[in-house]
């Protein structure tokens, strides 16, 4: 008998059907991954097992844990199971812990809640568990508070709480999505070890096929609330039956057709020994201010037609550098010149019009009360003689057409568009003023793989039609690899490697780059797989 058996699970919220006949099984010691794009219902499937569902949810079907029906079980019964027989790890480690309680109390709480152990025994167990997840008591005392830990460390605490009582089933909902690649690799390794040591079943939810292929014994692919395909990982990748699975895989492995960069040596953007310092909070009122150096003497040049990638983990200073290049914050040393002129917060508007940016969040970066036409014509403020009347209208239509939207979309409000369409609008806003350089700041990081593939294609296409030169900032190595000619690897405010993209990825010269590339999960080679008989 399987450890977890979900049969014909239907779920609706306030009458809207979300899940439709979801069935899956998970055996003891097995790792099953549910994958799919946003809105596929993969997280709700996981939360159904926990019975932690939003208000107004109606479920039918069956979810059995070791033969015990949990679907619509009364809450007191579920409280006994949660934490004891089923542990759960969440996506966002930064907010998953109570900020006011120390980590010891939070781990001990699981133990004290379900057992009759004394506080001392529980404390001992908490120390053991924290050590097991890689937080040894010598360096991480129980009295630490969550804000004193990094994201990866917090995720370890969350895992410790989930496994403190060795549950039979562990559910991990996008456990590494919010983490850097090297941290992700460590956490995935830890989860794998725990499954082996404890003989738990692991139900993992992730959108990342590369992570799935490294981790899972079996895969469940979901789309719009239905399971479209399920099977043993290797077999499934080798022999993808459903067109959606194939499309998902193709989108994940998508490589754009980037036209060859034109040979030109006009330097558009010259960054020379740039230094950015942040003041630390004063320790006493009259003490001299101390500074953190976020960007430490960075130099590079972006030539006309060049597509440069900038990669690095969180905290490496890439966002700080971006803000300095956009002239939003002043430098404390060195210089940044765009088109021969100094970039600074008080630079002339005309200079700003040459530098445009596309941000990460397609939901937060537009004013919801403005129509698309107004949103994308915003950069016209930078011009002395902004186009008026018919010309303005034509420019709007051209920009919308260029990004694959319809001219009529100009009169709609932003809420009418999906995440991918919004990112197209963001690109239209950057393009409309015909800038010399565009900065893509994690511009595809919030998008689903299929949408991401489309946007990357669009960027590649625009480089051809609009002679784009850009700086593409991302934490995602696979994206940078396909969309840039040259890549800069940043660490602790410095550039540790600078070279042609293919060269850097196939033969990195700096150990940090090599680490990053090794830590990044990779998609399986489907051709190699299909040659092996399943």
């Amino acid at each position: 008998m399987s450890l977890l058996s979900i049969q014909n699970l239907d779920l609706s919220i306030h009458g809207n059907p979300i899940l439709n006949g979801v069935s899956l099984d998970l055996a003891q010691g097995e790792i099953v991954a549910i994958t799919g794009e946003s809105g596929s219902g993969k997280s709700l499937t996981a939360f159904s097992v926990m019975q932690l569902l939003p208000r107004g949810t109606v479920t039918t079907g069956s979810i059995k844990l070791d033969g015990q029906e949990v679907l619509n079980a009364p809450d007191p019964e579920m409280c006994k199971l949660r934490g004891n027989d089923i542990g759960m790890v969440f996506q966002e480690p930064m907010t998953a812990l109570n900020p006011l309680k120390n980590i010891g109390d939070q781990v001990m709480e699981t133990i004290l809640l379900h057992t009759n152990q004394s506080r001392d025994e529980a404390r001992k167990r908490a120390l053991e568990v924290l050590a097991r997840v890689g937080l040894p008591p010598e360096s991480y005392s129980l009295s630490r508070f969550p804000h004193e830990l990094s994201g990866g460390q917090r995720q370890r605490v969350v895992i410790a709480m989930a496994i403190a009582l060795r549950p039979r089933l562990l559910i991990a909902d996008e456990p590494t999505t919010a983490l850097d690649v090297t941290t992700q690799a460590q956490i995935l390794e830890l989860l794998k070890d725990l499954v082996q040591d404890f003989g738990m079943g692991l139900l993992m939810i992730t959108h990342d096929l590369a992570v799935v292929s490294d981790m899972a014994d079996r895969i469940v692919v979901m789309r719009s609330g239905e399971v479209v395909e399920t099977g043993v990982t290797k077999t499934l990748f080798a022999n993808m039956q459903h067109p959606y699975t194939r499309a998902l895989f193709a989108a994940s492995a998508h490589e754009v057709n980037l036209p060859k960069a034109p040979e030109a040596d006009d330097a558009l953007l010259i960054v020379q020994d740039a230094v950015r310092d942040y003041p630390k909070p004063r320790t006493t009122l009259f003490a001299q201010r101390e500074y953190t150096r976020a960007v430490n003497g960075i130099s590079f040049t972006l030539h006309k037609g060049e597509r440069i990638g900038l990669v690095g983990e969180s905290g490496c200073g890439k966002s700080t550098l971006t803000r300095a290049i956009l002239g939003l914050e002043p430098l404390q040393g060195g210089s940044i010149k765009a088109f021969g002129q100094e970039v600074a917060p008080d630079m002339p508007a005309a200079l700003r019009s040459g530098l445009q940016v596309v941000f990460q969040d397609p939901y937060g970066s537009f004013n919801p009360r403005h129509k698309v036409a107004r949103i994308i014509t915003e950069p016209f403020h930078l011009l002395d003689n902004p186009p008026q009347g018919l010309e303005r209208k034509n420019r709007v239509s051209d920009a919308l057409l260029a990004v694959g939207l319809h001219p009529d979309d100009a009169d709609k409000y932003i809420h009418a568009f999906s995440g991918g369409q919004r990112q197209r609008i963001a690109i239209a806003r950057a393009l409309i003023i015909r800038p010399e350089v565009i900065i893509f700041d994690e511009a595809v990081s919030a998008l689903d793989v299929s949408i991401r593939a489309q946007i990357l294609d669009l960027i590649a296409e625009l480089t051809q039609t609009h002679d784009l030169s850009y700086l593409f900032i991302s934490h995602d190595l696979s994206v940078v690899r396909t969309i840039t000619d040259r890549v800069l690897v940043m660490k602790n405010g410095e550039i540790v490697e600078d070279g042609a993209t293919q060269q850097v990825f196939t033969n990195p010269s700096h150990p940090y780059t090599a680490n990053l590339i090794a830590a990044a999960p990779t998609l399986p080679d489907v051709k190699a797989l299909s040659n092996v008989p399943a």
Binding site: K101, H114, H147
Partner: protein, 315 residues
């Protein structure tokens, strides 16, 4: 934590100095000469001068500011222009009514608001929540003087449980004193309790939507346990802010209630002093209120740090 407290203390001192300067200057530019007010329209110029000399009004502004502030530090608030009695004594008498009244009202309002807010939040959308929210809506809308009059009608005139007004003094015993303050405290507390309950509820509901509440539930805590163990303390920060603001208001803002119940409190003292141009009393009482407000804020700041470890370690 010590460093945090010292920093707060330093900013408290700076605020007090700035406040005293502002109060002094504002009262300085206010028109009207206390001496001529005291002696009446037909006073002789030399009598006026003599009185000004006696009151210290002929000194330079700086001298007067310094003697005022240093006097206050030693407990000497000067002499009332109108009554010719030490201001310190007048204020102290009134404070013995106003301070207990404010604390009484605050205690009542907290005792009502916390359970009501927690109850409503834990039953969001259910009839209990709707009833509590309806009641608080009413509490916010009803003016407290009107409510005070209703209380007098019902409990003093009809039921004769309490007297309709006046304050016998603490010499008559603690119980008698508290009894006299009960109706005014209720009248003051209810509208405050209504506001506080709403803040408590919405703050709790915000926190109950946080990820770490979901984590707590995933550990096996029931909804109620998650609320008490994880949500409540997190929800306290905005509630503490409101409590601090309310205390300041209760101390000085109860003038109408004091009038309705005929209580000799600070509010009435300020009102009388302003109408009699007894500027030295106004100055002193305002300074005292500023001091109280700043002290309350200081205590609220310390309470924040007590609740939130992030504030403790930041400094």
């Amino acid at each position: 934590m010590l460093r945090y407290s010292l920093k707060r203390l330093l900013s408290l001192a700076i605020s007090l100095i700035i406040a005293s300067l502002v109060i002094f200057l504002v009262i300085e530019v206010a028109p009207g000469d206390p001496a001529s007010f005291m002696l009446g329209m037909n006073a002789q110029e030399d009598t006026l001068n003599a009185l000004r000399e006696e009151l210290g009004l002929n000194q330079s502004k700086l001298e007067r500011y310094l003697s005022w502030t240093f006097g206050m530090l030693q407990g000497d608030f000067g002499t009332s222009y109108t009554y010719r009695t030490p201001v310190a004594q007048m204020v102290a008498d009134r404070l013995w009514v106003s301070l207990p009244l404010a604390l009484y009202a605050l205690a009542l309002s907290t005792l009502i608001a916390f359970p009501a807010g927690i109850y409503a939040a834990s039953r969001r959308g259910a009839p209990g929540d709707v009833a509590v929210m309806g009641a608080t809506q009413l509490g916010v809308a009803i003016p407290n003087f009107w409510f005070a009059m209703i209380l007098v009608l019902v409990f003093a005139i009809n039921l004769r449980w309490f007297s309709a007004g006046g304050f016998p003094g603490w010499d008559e015993g603690l119980f008698t004193g508290l009894k006299a303050l009960t109706l005014p405290a209720i009248a003051l507390a209810l509208p405050q309790a209504a506001i506080l309950a709403r803040v408590m509820r919405s703050s709790l509901l915000d926190i109950l939507n946080e990820d770490f509440i979901r984590t707590a539930r995933a550990k096996g805590l029931s909804r109620r346990q998650a609320l008490w163990r994880h949500a409540l303390r997190n929800a306290l920060i905005p509630v503490l802010t409101i409590i601090g603001l309310q205390f300041s208001f209760l101390l000085a803002g109860s003038i109408i209630i004091e009038q309705v119940f005929y209580l000799p409190g600070l509010g009435r003292l300020v009102f009388q002093s302003i109408s009699q141009r007894d500027l030295i009393v106004v100055e002193s009482v305002v300074m005292l209120l500023v001091f109280a407000v700043i002290m309350v804020n200081f205590i609220v700041d310390l309470a924040y740090a007590f609740v939130d470890p992030r504030l403790r370690s930041r400094s």
